[in-house]
């Protein structure tokens, strides 16, 4: 692997006395790592809630549903993360989930598909609607915020029309075999030999693990992931480096739609039926998880672990407040404030670690 550069040129280019430039801020102290902090925060809060309310560690009633929620919202967060990686937003994540679940519902109700065939159909539908958003953005160059907002409106109109047209109760209630089991079964039902998993871990979390592994693999190990991040850092530079940016935009949105569909499926399984309002609550958590976890809104940097931890943090807080019996009149106030504090400390941490980095050159 040798470039057409001669020794002389190489030598001429290697000025011995040119100042070596250091990475910004030098080595960052461990406490400045967002993920580590989040982890500590999650553990500390869980411990605190556990002390205040020992019921917090009730496997069946608290930990099981908590993990199920964390799993689902992590997938929601990953759906947003995919578009954040290219510096876009997907304001329609919830509605994309609703749309793909509608297709899944049709496949169960009208075509009598099996559980996983229906899921597959839903994932494809999600990817397709996401790709559509990506395509419009890539073709017109209109900001993703606007396009997905408009798409959200559009789907908000379309989905109820379909539901009222096709169902009596505005929901697809046909449950393919396996759905009920998926909701309630934990790892205790998965045994290798006579070693079984924990009854506190729902089987549904496997979907999140798979999603995390796939997304993590894509972003850290593959060409596609790298190209998405490069596109997120600078579209122009990416285009001029031979990255097919339009296609990457479409891919990112398709991935987002597909993951939204998966999250929709997890929600449908854990609540029971497939209905038009699936995903209505997805928007806020979809941003919170990734952003708390360090993914940049501007694009170019993502963290899958961070998304899990960020999601865990918000879910644990809500659960803890629930258990402490905080009523609706205070719940949102606390949630919002805790969020602001968590985000501000993050900022303070960055500032501090930057300050430590000052040294002579």
């Amino acid at each position: 692997m040798s470039a057409p550069v001669s020794e002389t040129a190489t030598q001429a280019l290697q000025e011995p006395d040119a100042p070596t430039e250091q990475p910004r801020g030098g080595r960052t102290p461990w406490w400045a790592n967002q993920r580590v902090c989040l982890l500590i925060l999650v553990v500390a809060l869980s411990a605190l809630f556990g002390i205040l309310r020992p019921a917090f560690f009730n496997q069946q009633l608290v930990v099981f549903p908590l993990l199920r929620d964390i799993a689902m919202f992590t997938v929601v967060g990953l759906a947003q993360l995919c578009v954040l990686s290219i510096g876009h937003m997907n304001l329609a994540v919830g509605r994309m989930a609703a749309f793909s679940m509608m297709i899944t519902g049709i496949s169960y109700d009208l075509w009598h598909f099996s559980l996983y065939a229906g899921l597959l159909v839903g994932l494809v539908a999600g990817a397709a609607i996401g790709a559509l958003a990506g395509w419009v953005i890539a073709r017109t160059g209109v900001n993703s915020f606007v396009v997905t907002l408009a798409l959200d409106f559009l789907l908000l109109g379309l989905i109820p029309l379909v539901y009222t047209g096709l169902t009596d109760n505005a929901a697809f209630v046909t449950k393919p075999p396996g759905m009920r089991e998926l909701r309630n079964y934990s790892l205790a039902d998965v045994c290798i030999g006579n070693v079984c998993g924990s009854p506190a871990v729902p089987q549904l979390t496997m979907f999140a693990v798979i999603a995390m592994v796939v997304v993590g693999w894509i972003y850290s190990r593959t060409k596609l992931g790298r190209e998405l991040l490069m596109t997120g850092t600078s579209v122009k530079a990416a285009e001029l480096s031979g990255i097919p940016t339009a296609r990457r935009v479409i891919t990112a949105h398709a991935m987002s739609g597909c993951l939204a569909a998966l999250a929709g499926f997890m929600l449908a399984v854990s609540t029971g039926s497939i209905k038009a309002t699936i995903g209505e609550e997805f928007m806020l958590p979809s941003f919170l998880g990734p952003i708390l976890g360090g993914t940049l809104l501007a694009g170019g940097f993502i963290s899958v672990w961070g998304t899990l931890l960020g999601t865990a943090l918000t879910t644990v807080i809500r659960k803890g407040l629930d258990l402490l019996g905080v009523g609706l009149e205070s719940l949102n106030i606390y949630l919002g404030l805790i969020l602001l504090v968590a985000l501000s400390t993050d900022r303070i941490r960055t500032v501090l670690s930057d300050r430590q980095g000052v040294r002579k050159r």
Partner: protein
């Protein structure tokens, strides 16, 4: 009389001491040059003076009394005008509003449009600039925009005018106009600070000089007349700088690798003919806005080619995009717009270089083996002498010159055979410039076909085998390079101003 003094000024950035006890003295009625390599701290000094940055040490003295500026607003009120290195106009506003932005005239609490118009017209007239103050700045050409910025700096009734590389993106003609204004200001007893990497200009208009190296002043306000060009360069570089002597290189006779005939584009090019052979450096010269970069972009499929044909290796091709150019035709393009298009500032050096080769490295499922990637990156970092602490360092933390090397490295890594290099040394200091020239020369010697776009005539004369001159999106003609500055510059200028098209 000393109008302004910056006395032992320090400025720290996280991880960098950008200014280290710098002293700068500006006399009334003189033009002062501020020189230094990239990253020496010139712009930082200017930003400290104008109150944009708070100094970490030292003092500023204006008219004999110590001053402290909390913001650019305060320095402007004190009569310090500045044209920053970065573009500085507000897109939605008119020329007049942009000029007077720092203190918009008001009457009865409302912005007074009439006053804006008349006052802006006054400053435009001072610069002999024929512009309507009501025109939106989005309609201006680069040079016009640059001059509007100067008008803006003058509009604060500045007695001290700081110009940070004002000529980097304007033509020699327009630069001349600027110099006339500078001369006028000087005669009025004002003081001008002039920053430029073009030493010819510096010697033409400056009286005194301060040279910075690594944030420290190595020459404090000395008279320029006592120095030669070489001495100045040596001061900047910090050791004796030898003039560049390129080894001989011959262009082998062969069929052109890249050939354009009768090409017209959607951006207005008409009937462009051009060819580059392997091992040849073809210079594409023209004034700013002649359409050279756009031609390159059209070649890469970023703009539509409406007529004529492009041949690569003898085959007529239609290039759809950069990816196509790279993969199927081995054409690379080093952009002129380094910060926005050339490097990914927020990504690691390693990714910046590897971006073009993932296609080649990837295995099943798009897996890119980290080891192979790292080895490849290390190879090019070494070959081009890119100064980095680790390949994981963000490209945005590198100096301009090193960024430019990164921007080039990715095309070398991609093993391109045709390389279009656009303004490779804009805003790059002398020493790095020489290194680049050697590099480009070498690449050609190794058989690459190079189309070199540059507005730097000496650079063109140093490197090119032939010079093709463009004006208004048309080829004006071609000159074979005899490497003699005087004859070449005459011929080229003549071609630029010739009527119609003549082949040389």
């Amino acid at each position: 009389m000393t109008l302004f003094l910056a006395d032992r000024v320090d400025k720290l950035f996280p991880g960098v001491r950008a200014l280290d006890g710098v002293t700068l003295k500006l006399e009334a009625g003189s033009v002062h040059a501020l020189l230094g390599e990239n990253g020496a701290g010139k712009s930082t000094l200017i930003k400290v003076i104008t109150g944009l940055y708070k100094p970490d040490g030292g003092r500023l003295v204006l008219d004999g009394s110590e001053v402290q500026f909390g913001s650019p607003h305060e320095s402007a009120s004190a009569g310090i005008g500045v044209v920053h290195q970065e573009r500085n106009l507000i897109p939605g506003f008119t020329v007049g509003e942009n000029i007077l932005l720092q203190k918009l005239p008001t009457s009865r609490g409302l912005v007074d449009r009439g006053a804006i118009r008349s006052e802006a017209a006054r400053w435009l007239a001072e610069l002999d600039l024929d512009l309507d103050p009501d025109q939106p700045v989005t309609e201006l050409s680069v040079a016009q925009a640059q001059l509007v910025e100067i008008a803006k700096a003058l509009s604060v009734e500045s007695r001290v005018l700081l110009l940070d590389e004002p000529t980097a993106s304007i033509t020699p003609n327009e630069a001349e106009r600027l110099f006339r204004v500078v001369a006028k200001l000087k005669n009025d007893g004002r003081s001008v600070l002039f920053v430029s990497h073009k030493l010819e200009e510096v010697f033409q208009i400056c009286d005194t000089v301060t040279v910075l190296r690594d944030g420290a002043s190595v020459l404090e306000s000395g008279p320029l007349a006592d120095l030669t060009r070489d001495q100045v360069v040596d001061l900047m570089v910090g050791r004796v700088h030898e003039a560049l002597a390129l080894p001989p290189r011959t262009v082998p006779e062969s069929a052109p690798l890249l050939e354009l005939s009768g090409v017209s584009t959607a951006t207005g090019h008409a009937d462009v003919d051009l060819s580059v052979r392997p091992g040849e450096i073809v210079g594409l010269y023209g004034l700013v806005g002649a359409g050279r970069s756009e031609l390159a972009k059209a070649l890469l499929g970023l703009d539509r080619i409406t007529a004529g044909e492009v041949k690569v290796r003898g085959q007529v091709v239609r290039i759809r995009n950069v990816r196509d150019a790279l993969r199927n035709h081995k054409i690379g393009y080093v952009t002129e717009n380094r910060k926005e298009e050339g490097v990914f500032l927020e990504q690691s050096v390693s990714r910046n270089i590897a971006v073009t080769v993932w296609d080649r490295l990837r295995k099943a499922l798009g897996y890119v083996p980290a080891k192979a990637e790292a080895a490849m990156v290390a190879d090019y970092v070494e070959q081009l002498g890119i100064r980095i602490a680790s390949p994981a360092q963000l490209a945005g933390t590198l100096s301009g010159g090193n960024q430019q090397k990164v921007s080039l490295a990715k095309w070398l890594a991609a093993k391109t055979e045709i390389l279009i290099i656009d303004e490779p040394t804009v805003g790059i200091d002398v020493r790095t410039k020489d290194a680049f020239h050697t590099l480009i020369w070498d690449l050609a010697a190794n058989g690459l076909a190079i189309l070199l776009i540059t507005s730097d005539l000496p650079e063109m004369i140093t490197l090119a085998d032939r010079v093709v001159v463009m004006r208004d999106h048309r080829v004006q003609g071609e000159v074979a390079n005899d490497h003699d500055y005087d004859t070449m510059s005459q011929q080229v200028i003549r071609l630029i101003h010739a009527e119609g098209t003549t082949a040389a």
